[in-house]
Symmetry: C2
Amino acid sequence: MVKGNQSFIFESKPVIISSATVGGPLEAQGPLAEDIDILHDDPYIGQDSFEKAEKLMLEEAAAKALEKAGVNKYDVGLFISGDLINQIISSSFAARTIGVPYLGIYGACSSSMEGLAIAASFVDGQKVKYVLTGASSHNNSAERQYRYPNEYGAQKPPTSQWTVTGAGVCLLALEGEGPRVTAATIGRIVDLGITDPFNMGAAMAPAAVDTIEAHFRDLDIEPDYYDLIVTGDLGAVGHKIALDRFKENGTEISEKKFMDCGMMIYDREKQPQVFAGGSGCASSAVTVYGHLLNKMKSGKIRRLLVVATGALHSPLSYQQKETIPCIAHAVAIEM
Amino acid sequence: MVKGNQSFIFESKPVIISSATVGGPLEAQGPLAEDIDILHDDPYIGQDSFEKAEKLMLEEAAAKALEKAGVNKYDVGLFISGDLINQIISSSFAARTIGVPYLGIYGACSSSMEGLAIAASFVDGQKVKYVLTGASSHNNSAERQYRYPNEYGAQKPPTSQWTVTGAGVCLLALEGEGPRVTAATIGRIVDLGITDPFNMGAAMAPAAVDTIEAHFRDLDIEPDYYDLIVTGDLGAVGHKIALDRFKENGTEISEKKFMDCGMMIYDREKQPQVFAGGSGCASSAVTVYGHLLNKMKSGKIRRLLVVATGALHSPLSYQQKETIPCIAHAVAIEM
């Protein structure tokens, strides 16, 4: 059902019948490691490029999610996935291995929730029985493409974030046991003129606020409806900006109930190299499809709003002196 | 409704209430020029980069489609778009201008029908009232990114194709007058080991055949059901390969009823620089949303199956010695 200008409700409440996550070396040392199904010490994961390692993580997450649910991949009607690498090769090459009908998406780090919203639309409309949807990122492949190869040792400002190495996938179905996808709010582009690719959090915060406020307005609910509202990868800088904007706008969101996946996935005291926190498609995909869904299953969270944030610039658009257009998509998940 | 392993039916038959197309200099001299709403002599379209010109064409097509339907953009619930440029900046920056909730997709040249299938799912499920969906490509921006900048004057083999400069957009609604989207078949990745980025047609042909045969099998219909089955950008080389494979497989498709947008949009006799024909996201977007929908409206085609084909490699995957994974998505449009 249409709700307001940007939102809709999934009447059948599609069920996340399983999910799985994969992480790299730094994620293995982070506070959410216990909720990550497969952890790798080697950033290459035995492959000969970081891109191939990223693809492999997505394949592993998909296989694990199917295994947990006991669903045969031949019964899966769609695989919807996105990542940060040019032409989303991690997703497309993983789709070749997985062998399921495939829709590639690109929403930068908002891809996780873009995928879940599209997946829920197909399941809700009874177009497919099962949909696998996920996202991946890899620190070394993303840094090389967007900024500098890590091997260069380029210095970073404290506003910068650390691209998460990992993948998260969930399996959505019309019926079954598990958290249910109840509503989504699709973001509009918000661009306040920031051009610094080392300050993604500040660029994306206004988009997160715009989508969250649209969600409450469209669905006519109060922020208190949710036990937790979690953004994808604003990091400490963007998180603070978002809280300030909520205050300015008179949107009453309790600080305890507003968190960021990029701040949860690392311990910034013990892992200072992440600076303002995690970023990348896997920031929300790993945190939500691992840690947060586990919290829902154990009864600690009943209602969750995931707001995945994306910066839709490119190295070329930066060179051409464009500002950074940002977006955020919100998906409500309830037990 | 689920149909077979890869297909589904849109029960409400969403309506294409309007569409619009934009083309560049070579498209203006081609046989479909009369069906293109806005034609540009200058490949820069007054912008300071080809990427910005491509973005502008997408914006023009979207504005024109809205104008034709008399629909205000504030009533449009979604803009779904894809293109070939890294991080699909043409689509994302156009989305910033258009200001409508946005979902970016990446299916290379299959993006046009990937977008239409997703759009139809949202409209059919009554999640949004109106969806704008489209795709764009630009010869100069694509050649520079995927092969060599045109200014280098690199020689090309006769199997190569010419990336179409243009954009095509349609406006989908639950009710109204116009051709209706009745079914879709989502492609699986097909990769027969081709590595030559100057022979996309040969790489993509098996994917087109796979999806077309899945469509007939899933929907339990004969090829004769359609007045025209049109692929996106196989070009002359891929078209011939597809016909040969149909014969081998015993799939009876009349040669008269099986065409390719990349062969229709240019006159290969008068425009020999296109070699095997057109390619790019705009090949199918401009041909279908202009010429073919006009033919449907004038009663010359009643049932159309559009099979947009995409090569999902990247310059990096090519350098890493990967083969080219290909895909094709089919959407049925009926009067």
